[in-house]
Symmetry: D2
């Protein structure tokens, strides 16, 4: 909790949304931010109603993000940062507006609905005094930090295999035609830029890279649309090759009944292996080759400094999704305040890698799963 | 998140504590409260330093709780509620001071270090315009609410068995002699009033009662102190008999290596059974007799209205300990604001039942485990 | 597999039984025995039909066990051992007949339906050249042997707590009145001598003793009959005190919906703890205090000599209930053949301890759960 | 148990082997076979010593399989069936010898070390009066039969996804150079015909086909050799396309530390999904879309006739690897005895499909993971 919380605004996230509420919980949990402004909906009336409900001052409930960027930049007590929680196609234009106004950006993933648009952000950021953060929230789970530290320490030896999957079932039927709001924009290619690949595939890809420390060399993908009438992919299967010789597989699906939000990562090296599952995030399995399997727990006996740095409460008192999300926000606050130069929070480069991954999968799948280089 | 957060203060919870920080995360998570005052330590300097660190105004960092109650009651913008997170022996005197000042109290458990002291609170509360809440936080987990709803619906038939346990290992050695602050006061009988029985046994007892809806008739207990030189119990084993004929067992231990915070509840009836474990709180196992076991999940297909009422995010995005704690705070806010008369938040009666349970276990254990009535 | 399998007969275990078939699988699995004779039913016709079905020679399908003992003892190629798989009340008389004939006995548990009858067996055994074995089969699981070895090695320090439970649901309703054969004799007190206490409680008790190495000092029990019209206990809850100061709890129930055959053992000491569940028998959890939890597996990296001695196939190829049962048979064969004097197979003393436990629980429960000494 | 066990012989499986002992346990468990002859080693002395140890008559301990086929065929009490448990390159020649002699063959997998050799068996079998069975033992687990029945019943709707993996760690290091016998022949390409692909990949492939009922259309594979100096693949990653539009992934690895014998299958359709893991074989997870997940257990409330047909003992009494293996043997006995024409035991066609899969993976991997048709 901070005596001087960072003043923050939000674009998107009005009534009825999902991820906007998540970001608000996340920024509030550690007391490092205070939400003071918003353009919460593209409908000005709805934007205002949503803002008032959240306790914003009426004068700071904006009709659109352009006004908000301009007017907040002009206020002495204007926002220092903004959260972007709109559909994907708006991420880049909104981010540009605030970066140009010198306001830090904390943006939901994927970076954009379109690779070229994403690239354009690079230049704008270079010219800005502000920072850009991307909320690949899963990388802030304590046991993911533990996993990354174990790999980096050499405890697994040379990494040979990286197996990652992100599996859901909520799009097993055509709910987008029935007015389900979350499904509607996510399956609209002009708003999302892709289906499972962008919504969850990029999370899986980022997590695998984050923990393994490996650079992807090339990929071969088969993307499918199982639900008739759907306009985007709902299942993605990828073979991976990394620099240095490691291999792997990535599977992202939104049509696998019995899976709620099953993101799982396994990494194997010449000397050991580890396994983690997002739905049980306080546990990490670690095996040193030839030794019995160990259960590492958040806050537990084997927890490293890296894990403890994002741990709030003792072992056995489970932390969850919101806590990991909040850790990203708090770490971004450290950077915004200039307390640290180094951070594990994903930034623009990570976003661009995610966009390159999406493009490569789409290209490979169109070319009958031919290998596509990511160099 | 509220446009008009409740102004709240805190007694106890200064630097170095555990549960104070938990309460602060909990009150902040849903945006229903704003922390504005504190007597965070019995050491005035430390109280002030702790308060400033949390962003409190210096004038509202009090040297003691008596001043705080008096002065906050006198302010127009004074606190409407107070969180009490001191060692057990102070719960009642602090609560009395604020209740007499018409300020709502949200108090950590157990209610007191002493049964008679606890009873005295009843009268004071009766004369106050304010409410009293007790943070048996585990009862606010969504899957505990689900369990309670299933039992109440008759899905288990007549309840026959209630098996509950709360097992930890952090006191397996004499860490209280090595200056571990959390251990020190918890193993000091004059500050805590008991060991495992009060610290975790009352949680287990409250949870069993909350879910089963049963009234305990009598208990037989054996309490042990396994760590030499320890001054309180560190293991408690109890046989339970309930009104109506159900039976059960309760085990609370702080000396069982391999257990971090393993609170588990199982309830069995003539038509079904259920099982829940706090360390994996998003799951509830339910079996209808003669049917395959079902996995109910927070936010999942079988989640009832009772569970969804304390659920923030979709299934598969795990919520944890802080979220359950925050739900209690938010539900207390609903009562404080007069939005509802009925609530599932534990109140004074629950606290008194916990104190009666502690006393009965101590009496039974002293009488070679003879049955002691709780009527 | 042996070039000279031991010739064995069977009493009980005719068509429609459960445990007889288990014993036959068990004696066959390792090829140490050959079944050549039987009095498989008290109904001579059924005994013969059952025997022929199993490939026995007609002349060795006996009408009753007395004839079988006499005539087999008289044959040059007569049986060397007999398996007793009748209801409990016949265990002792049958065992006596064969022991007197110099034929080794492998008897199902509990030892008898009656404590005094069981005691009488002691004398008969003392006068016999033959051995007596009791099939507390759970004690032959590799990971139970591992657990026992870990305790004996001191890896857990001084044992403080032994928590054991054996929970089923198959008697949640009055199926004995509906002609379920297994239920019928088990709930007939004159055939079984008790309900859950003898059928599963003695297994739990033996397992706890076997692994912990502790001697029980006294117990306090509450026994219940939840199903109306049932004539025996279907739930047993016991507090335990061991010589040397350890404590524990035992729970045996046959009315807990959602439990098939859930026998679980947990042992905690000053330096570590372990946990095992029969339904997942190839795993053993071990925690050294202050270290991460380890998963020991049958055939795995941490498996000790004691575990490997009863392991047939590599780790990850699960062995189950029949294999553990077969290990007891094979170990008994070693003793019968004179290959070893020492054995871990339960023998008469274990059976008498089980009978003493049953009697003590019944006495305690009748005396309002007063402590009863087992000295 | 049978009154007239089938007389069986064994080729391979002498002292020091693994799979020979497994087959012997399997054929003995249900009492349907009697082992009476063997050519247990290519070393005549060792063959004899091994045979005597197993109780074979000296005259039936053969120096080589050719003699054994000829002489057993000539005996009136000669073997009716033979188990082949040699390294892969001998499967076909040995099978041919016995099939030509009119003796039924039960052969370990994969069918051969070489596709063309395998094909040649087809003709020989066509001319023989005897049957050929292939021990893809995993397909006989009760919960695999349950899974297959659920898919066939339409409970999952149209199958969309089949994800299968078979992961081990025992070849993470170059143990073949250290004289580990099991590793030595498996990593010798002229004896095995391939590494992980044949040893475990074909098991995974067969299981996926068996449960899903789908026909594979084409595959794209990347095969790797991670351990330097190894001469065969030790990791195989495959993308699958099935007739009718389903997709899938297959992963087989022997270099993933922390995995003993982790064969897992997941199948998802438009209306439901299921998950199974070989190391916990008595459980099957089934989810009907929009319903809570169910845990189906062997012998449990949801067990179908298909599962019960290969179940020996009640739920909660775990059956394992040997039991599933034994079920295949017992089902083969039914066919051998002419009791049934239909069987689920894999036969030659399944073996040929496995060989085609191996060849396709090797071709694809050599062609930079290009798709290879299996039509």
């Amino acid at each position: 909790m901070s005596a001087n919380p960072i003043r923050i605004g939000m674009v998107g996230g009005g009534q009825g949304g999902f991820i906007g509420a998540v970001h608000r919980h996340a920024l509030r949990l550690d007391g490092q931010y205070q939400l003071v402004a918003g353009a919460l909906s593209s409908d000005p009336e709805r934007s205002k109603a949503s803002g008032l409900e959240l306790g914003l001052d009426e004068s700071r409930c904006y009709a659109n993000y352009e006004d908000m960027a301009r007017m907040e930049a002009a206020r002495e007590d204007g926002i220092e940062a903004v959260s972007i929680v709109t559909p994907n196609h708006l991420h880049v234009p909104v981010a540009m507006a605030f970066l140009k106004a010198g306001i830090h950006v904390i943006c939901d993933k994927p970076l954009s609905s379109n690779f070229e648009m994403a690239l354009a952000l690079k230049e704008v950021l270079a010219d800005s005094s502000a920072k850009f953060f991307l909320t690949h929230n899963y990388s802030a789970y304590p046991m993911i930090r533990q996993a990354r530290a174990l790999v980096a320490s050499g405890a697994l030896g040379d990494i040979r295999l990286v197996q990652v999957e992100y599996v859901q079932d909520w799009l097993s039927e055509d709910i987008e035609s029935e007015g389900q709001k979350q499904a509607a924009w996510r399956t609209n290619p002009s708003l999302s830029g892709g289906g499972a690949i962008g919504d969850i595939g990029t999370h899986a890809y980022q997590l695998a890279s984050f923990v393994s420390g490996l650079t992807t060399k090339r990929i071969a993908a088969q993307m499918s649309t199982f639900v008739p009438s759907r306009r985007v992919d709902d299942d993605v299967q990828v073979m991976l090759q990394f620099e240095g010789g490691a291999k792997g597989m990535l599977w992202a699906s939104q049509v696998a009944p019995g899976n709620e939000n099953s993101l799982k990562l396994r990494v194997y090296g010449s000397q050991g292996g580890l396994e983690w599952a997002q739905e049980d995030p306080n546990y990490l399995w670690f095996t040193a080759l030839g030794q019995p399997k160990q259960l590492h727990t958040r806050g537990g006996a084997a927890a490293t400094e890296a894990a403890n740095a994002v741990t709030r409460i003792p072992g056995g008192h489970p932390e969850g999704y919101l806590e990991a999300f909040a850790s990203l926000y708090s770490e971004a606050a450290d950077v915004i305040r200039g307390n640290t130069a180094a951070t594990l929070v994903p930034m623009l480069e990570d976003g661009l890698k995610g966009m390159a991954f999406i493009r490569a999968c789409q290209q490979s799948s169109s070319a009958d799963s031919a290998w596509v280089s990511l160099a």
